[in-house]
């Protein structure tokens, strides 16, 4: 994979991780104050984010980690 494309993918990977961290924080906050609408909607978002982590972040980290 050419360097420029790889760098762009790594930028995308960083944003996926930021989104995941934000969603997890939101889920914990919702759990603490017992706010089902936030908890369950964010839970679904995390499922969707998992697809990006598994299919973009993981292969990038495994194959192009250098």
């Amino acid at each position: 994979m050419d360097k420029e494309k790889l760098q762009k993918l790594k930028d995308i990977d960083r944003e996926i991780k930021n989104l995941d961290a934000a969603a997890r924080k939101l889920k914990n906050m919702a759990e603490e104050m017992d706010l089902p609408i936030v908890f369950y909607n964010v839970n679904r978002i995390l499922g969707t984010l998992n697809v990006l982590k598994e299919n973009i972040s993981e292969p990038l980290n495994i194959i192009y980690s250098d």
Partner: protein
């Protein structure tokens, strides 16, 4: 090139092999720690956690025991937590999707997916639909009542992910479905191949020419028909549309699919380790040999599937697909299923070869049934096929022609009976073509 995820679909083959081995190892470790079935299975095979952590080569993969559907069924039958039993690898409250196998080959398996598993599943559907050119502007009609069967639900959510409009055909009749496809100007259709042909026959009676509809793509699954050239041609001609095949099971959805180039069927290698093994020795076959498919899924956490024997028979193609995907391809899709292949008078017999013969005769409408019987140690094969209404007066001639074709495709002499149109039962799901009464 219609690529959904370039990171995985165009990964160089040597990187892909390395990636697969790492994912295989991770899934084995996960299953050992979380699935009572795999913990028992691996322990009985003398494997410890450190053995799994040391998986690095394909030789290491071969040390992991193979599982069968029978073993999966036994791990569920009467076992807690109901209804998934020892196969469940997450707390049951994390399961949000229930499906089950059709039970065509025995006790149905009950399958639970977490929301993350389900999102993964929709995504691999999106991958294959995107590869065939389905886009947000498309309107997809699904001619299937969904029910507890996983495939068409996945198709629904995968198409939605791309942004396409999805119209569920529900449990309405065939005439109503055809009317909806015409009226709503649907551009794509998803159904079993036998049902696509059944719709052709009904449309003729309704005086509707399906080639004049907006449908340009048909996504077929559930049966091998879309990879049988004569069946595929017949559907494509009648609909004036491209027909795409893909293969999967509830336990291993979409492990193989046909891309826009319509060559062989790609193995979905980013999500599965697909091994082609000799059915007797369960060791890898030599290049160009047909073998049984054993798959390991990398993603699902609710119920992992490791070295699972699908009993499908395929042969790897040496051809490189011009689509640009680096995933290997099989030649002509699934050649047959080990549990459908039976020996008749000492010869291996597959219903797929009967379908090839039936579909090669244009005066037959594509509906058929095979009945195998045994009398005084002699096996007999009876093939009953339906003629189109206009050709019912030449049934004797058609029987003779079909008999000849069957001789070519099966190498056996089969008894043949040509029936009037509408005699045999119709199926929306997997068509039950074979009745072995021996």
């Amino acid at each position: 090139m219609n690529v959904w995820n370039p990171v995985l679909e165009t990964m160089p083959p040597e990187d892909l092999r390395r990636y697969q081995l790492i994912k295989f190892k991770e899934q084995c470790i996960y299953a050992f720690k979380n699935s009572p079935y795999y913990m028992r299975k691996f322990t009985e095979a003398g494997l410890k956690l450190k053995d799994l952590e040391n998986i690095k080569t394909m030789d290491d993969v071969l040390k992991i025991p193979i599982s069968s559907k029978k073993e999966f069924a036994a791990a569920q039958e009467g076992k807690e937590p109901f209804p998934y039993g020892e196969l469940l690898a997450v707390p049951i409250e994390r399961i949000s999707e229930y499906h089950q196998t059709s039970g065509t080959t025995g006790t149905p398996l009950r399958w639970g997916d977490t929301w993350a598993d389900w999102e993964w599943y929709a995504d691999i559907w999106a991958t294959i639909l995107y590869s065939r050119g389905l886009r947000a502007k498309d309107r997809l009609y699904i001619a299937f009542p969904y029910h507890i069967y996983i495939a068409f639900w996945g198709g629904h959510y995968g198409a939605e992910k791309i942004g396409a409009e999805v119209i569920p055909g529900g449990s309405t009749g065939t005439e109503e479905r055809i009317r909806e496809i015409v009226e709503l100007r649907c551009t794509a259709l998803m159904c079993t191949p036998s049902y696509a042909l059944h719709m052709v026959n009904i449309a003729k009676q309704m005086d509707i020419d399906l080639r004049k509809t907006a449908v340009s793509k048909l996504f077929c699954t559930g049966e091998p028909g879309a990879s049988i050239i004569s069946t595929k041609q017949r559907i494509e001609e009648a609909w004036g549309a491209k027909v795409f095949d893909h293969v999967g099971a509830t336990e291993a959805p979409l492990w193989s699919f046909q891309c826009e180039e319509q060559r062989g069927l790609h193995l979905n290698e980013a999500h599965y380790l697909v091994e082609i093994l000799n059915p007797e020795t369960l060791t890898p076959v030599a290049e160009g040999e047909t073998g049984t498919v054993v798959v390991t899924n990398f993603a699902r956490k609710g119920m992992p599937t490791i070295r699972y024997d699908l009993k499908d028979l395929i042969k790897i193609s040496s051809e490189k697909c011009p689509c640009g995907r680096t995933w290997r391809m099989s030649e002509g899709g699934v050649a047959g299923r080990r549990d459908e292949m039976s020996k008749v008078r000492g010869v291996l017999f597959s219903p797929k070869n009967v379908e090839k013969a039936v579909m090669s005769i244009p005066e037959l409408n594509g509906e058929f049934k095979i009945i195998i019987t045994r009398e005084k140690d002699y096996d007999s094969v009876m093939v009953k096929a339906e003629a189109f209404k206009d050709y019912e007066n030449i049934r004797a001639e058609l029987a003779e022609r079909l008999s000849k074709e069957l001789r070519n495709t099966t190498t056996l002499r089969c008894d043949v009976e040509i029936l009037p149109s509408g005699t045999l039962p119709r199926h929306e799901a997997k068509a039950k073509r074979l009745e072995d009464l021996r």
